[in-house]
């Protein structure tokens, strides 16, 4: 390594209306270094990187690449400077093939499809991703989309590669292959910035770790100098333990939901589940094992191809989410941005939109004062951090968006709650409070089904754990017999 750093960021500041997203952040990156950025949601990791990749323009500070001052004002300029970034949200063009997507923006004037495809195949093989380059992006599943995104970041031989949560939808073998490739490219002198919520991953792969909190760099050290506990403490500014089993309620209520031999094509095969009042059931399994599909069948989003559903012992057909709601079933989607929140509307509207009936006067007009009072009490009860009730939902961090959505769902007063990845992309502090909420819902007598890829979460909150593999329910553990290794064994088969 020579003396000039590959990248040097000094005093970088980025403001958004009402929020100081990044405040005087410093970051030094040597050639060939793998640098992990960790922090809670809304701590400014993504914003910092998007400033580097030209999506946002900084308000203050300086960026040097190989000792030269730069200020990329567009992703294109950042690319020319040797910075490529893999973004969190999907950035694929549905109508183009995987290989066209990966090469997008880097084509020669007259296309050479064959050569592009050969290169794409080579990258995908290196990553051990099973992905057909000639298939259209609209045909990909969530995990496959993420694979394409990663390949896209590696396609251009950049000096600096930024990966924002690359493993969020990947299975364990795929994550391993990705880590190997990251080590390989860094050995050739490419520097990698690795953003992740999975602290274990960051500790495993990175040479250096930078911890951000509220837009400020709170620590930057060699990875060896950190333990997982240190990182968590630095991220939240206090020590908490997320793997802490709550006391169980022995007495369960009567059965409210029973599903018999439900199938959905080959995605869900002959699944039978029963859910009782006052219990939290965890549904574990790998991504693509059919968990989300089963959850969607239960909440009426999609109709099963076979099987029957009983609510309170009566056979029902759930034709639509509205019908499911009428039967008392609520569904929290794993995609809060697309399916849950009205990003352009205010926090208050987002909180109260499902309960407006209760807040109207006799003419049918919404009583503004009562709505505000209700909204404020929800914000307090669920400790949602907002600039104000009038702020747009899109200005909130991921954790606070999720809390708002859960608050809205709970206020709608339904009996059967289905949570799909309730803490996906949510910071450590918010995870804790969401878990508490879920437990307290169960003790109020609601039946809760939690679909989660995050095993510690399943272990923490469930009274019972179901495991799915290839569309089938393969295991059913009680709280006493459940253990992480047993669940993993069942999930991998």
């Amino acid at each position: 390594m020579n003396d000039t750093p590959r990248l040097s960021i000094r005093g970088l500041t980025k403001k958004f209306p009402g929020i100081l997203a990044v405040s005087e952040a410093d970051l030094i990156l040597a050639p060939g270094e793998i640098h992990a950025l960790v922090g809670e949601n809304g701590s400014g990791k993504s914003t910092l990187c998007m400033t580097l990749s030209g999506v946002y323009q900084r308000d203050a500070g300086e960026i040097q690449i190989d000792g030269k001052h730069v200020s990329p004002t567009s992703p294109r300029q950042a690319q020319l400077l040797g910075v490529s970034m893999m973004y969190q949200e999907s950035n694929l063009v549905p109508e183009l093939t995987v290989s066209a997507n990966i090469a997008l923006g880097r084509e020669s004037f007259v296309l050479n499809r064959h050569q592009t495809e050969v290169r794409v195949r080579e990258i995908l093989n290196r990553l051990d991703f099973h992905l057909d380059p000639s298939v259209k992006a609209s045909h990909l599943s969530g995990a496959q989309m993420q694979m394409a995104e990663i390949a896209k970041a590696l396609y251009e031989e950049s000096k600096i590669i930024i990966m924002d949560e690359p493993t969020a939808a990947l299975s364990i073998p795929e994550t391993r292959a990705l880590h190997k490739v990251i080590r390989d490219v860094s050995a050739t002198g490419v520097s990698v910035i690795y953003i992740s919520h999975a602290l274990e991953e960051a500790l495993e792969i990175a040479d250096y770790v930078t911890v951000l909190r509220d837009g400020k760099v709170v620590a930057c050290r060699e990875t060896r100098a950190f333990t997982r506990g240190d990182l968590v403490a630095l991220m939240v500014g206090r020590h908490i333990s997320i793997i802490e089993r709550p006391t169980r309620h022995a007495a369960l209520g009567e059965e409210v939901l029973r599903v018999e031999n439900v199938s959905l094509g080959n995605r869900v095969k002959n699944a039978s589940v029963s859910l009782s009042r006052g219990e939290v059931v965890g549904l574990a399994g790998l991504v693509g094992s059919g968990r989300s599909e089963l959850a969607m069948v239960l909440c009426g989003v999609i109709r099963p191809t076979a099987g029957t559903i009983y609510i309170d012992g009566k056979r029902v057909t759930l034709r639509s989410p509205r019908a499911a709601m009428r039967h008392g079933i609520a569904y929290l989607s794993e995609n809060r941005k697309e399916d849950g929140l009205f990003m352009q509307l205010t926090v208050l509207t987002n909180l109260t939109i499902s309960i407006l009936d209760r807040l109207t006067n006799w003419v049918g007009l919404v009583r503004g004062r009562r709505e505000t009072v209700e909204g404020r009490s929800l914000v307090d009860r669920f400790s949602i951090i907002v600039p104000g009730l009038g702020a747009k939902a899109q200005t909130l961090s991921g954790g606070n968006q999720q809390k708002s959505l859960i608050a809205r769902l709970i206020e709608a007063n339904l009996r059967i709650l289905i949570f799909d990845e309730p803490t996906k992309g949510v910071d450590v502090g918010a995870i804790e409070s969401i878990h508490k909420t879920i437990r307290s819902l169960a003790s109020e007598g609601k039946a809760v089904l939690v679909v989660s890829s995050y095993l510690p979460e399943i272990m923490t909150i469930s009274d019972r754990v179901l495991v799915m593999r290839d569309g089938e329910l393969v295991a059913n553990f009680t709280a006493e017999e459940v253990a992480e290794d047993k669940v993993m064994a069942a999930a991998f088969g």
């Binding site: 992703p75 950035n91 109508e95 599909e293 969607m296 989607s333 697309e338 849950g340």
Partner: protein
């Protein structure tokens, strides 16, 4: 798959409509009429190619009819009233089209006006210009004489080798060029990417503003070329020239399978769409169908095509076994419905 079907069913409708007019009017399938049909189709077709590109971007250009009209106006008044040689007027018309197109492009891409509003503004300005011009002495003088230069008449009305209209050749030339650009160049991929996922295109380093201004400029140029052909073929222009043409253009392009939402579309489909519109319009004139009824028939064809498209889509997706991608798409669609259905 969908486009393949849509294109094929469009081809079937096209043949069916052709045969219908062939049997209901003895004048329809005559050589003379077919050449006229080709000429009308070519002018519409050149405009449609430009508009197809705008639609693939996910934008709209409704100013094309009036750009064509003003381009024809420049030709007619310049040549017949002001006695300027038409050879000088050609580049003037082309530059006019480029400028109006670039103006639309700058309004939408750089200033951020929605394209519908921007091109509506252009449309109204140019229509106003037409109205004003038609009340002047110039227009009366132009429309009371006939041009005598055979070379001028040849542009829009002449046949190369006395069989193929020059305008049809011009259409073919533009068609091939645009097909090549869309299929085989970076610009083509960029246009599809722009319409398919704008954010992805921006983040992939595509120069989105240049692409957008460029496509609008091209659309303006196409409309101006059509105006030149029209002026030469009809040898006159009125304030009604090209009025409501934008709707015919949109019908043809959408019939051809291009989505208004952007990211999807092909100029092959557009050519078939134009063919159908041209045959319908001409055939209804030949069978002496009432003018108002003609519009209704055109609109019904558009709705019918979209309806057929949905039906075919449903049938093909129900028939087979559940495929992963289909299910994923169904799920994605269902997820979107969750919110609208008043769910969580």
């Amino acid at each position: 798959m969908l486009h393949y079907l849509l294109r094929n069913q469009l081809l079937l409708i096209l043949i069916g409509v052709f045969l219908y007019f062939h049997f209901s009017s003895p004048y329809f399938a005559t050589g003379f009429n077919l050449i006229t049909l080709g000429r009308e189709g070519a002018e519409l077709g050149i405009i449609c190619i430009g508009v197809t590109l705008v639609l693939i971007l996910g934008r709209l250009d409704i100013s094309v009819g009036s750009v064509m009209a003003v381009s024809a106006l420049i030709m007619i008044i310049g040549y017949k009233t002001l006695q300027i040689h038409w050879g000088y007027l050609l580049p003037i018309c082309l530059v006019f089209g480029l400028l109006v197109g670039a103006f639309n492009g700058v309004l939408t891409a750089i200033i951020g006006v929605p394209s519908f509003i921007a091109t509506l503004g252009t449309l109204i300005i140019l229509r106003g210009l037409m109205q004003w011009a038609s009340s002047t002495e110039w227009m009366r003088e132009a429309n009371s004489t006939f041009s005598t230069d055979p070379a001028f008449q040849f542009i829009g009305g002449g046949d190369v080798g006395s069989t193929i209209p020059l305008s049809v050749l011009l259409l073919a030339l533009i068609f091939v060029a645009v097909l090549f650009i869309l299929k085989f160049t970076k610009i083509g991929v960029s246009i599809y990417a722009f319409g398919g996922n704008f954010q992805a295109a921006t983040r992939a380093g595509i120069r989105v503003k240049i692409i957008e201004v460029g496509v609008f400029t091209f659309s303006g140029l196409c409309a101006a070329i059509a105006g030149i052909l029209l002026a030469s073929r009809l040898d006159s222009v009125t304030y009604q020239t090209g009025q409501y043409l934008e709707f015919q253009v949109l019908i043809a392009v959408i019939l051809g399978g291009t989505s208004i939402a952007g990211g999807v579309g092909s100029i092959w489909g557009t050519i078939l769409g134009i063919g159908l519109i041209a045959i319908l319009t001409n055939g209804m004139v030949m069978t002496a169908t009432d003018r108002d009824v003609q519009d209704i028939v055109l609109a019904l064809f558009l709705l019918f095509a979209l309806f057929l498209d949905r039906i075919m889509h449903k049938l093909t997706h129900r028939a087979g076994a559940w495929k992963m991608a289909d299910l994923d798409r169904a799920l994605a669609f269902a997820r979107r419905l969750t919110m609208r259905g008043g769910g969580a």
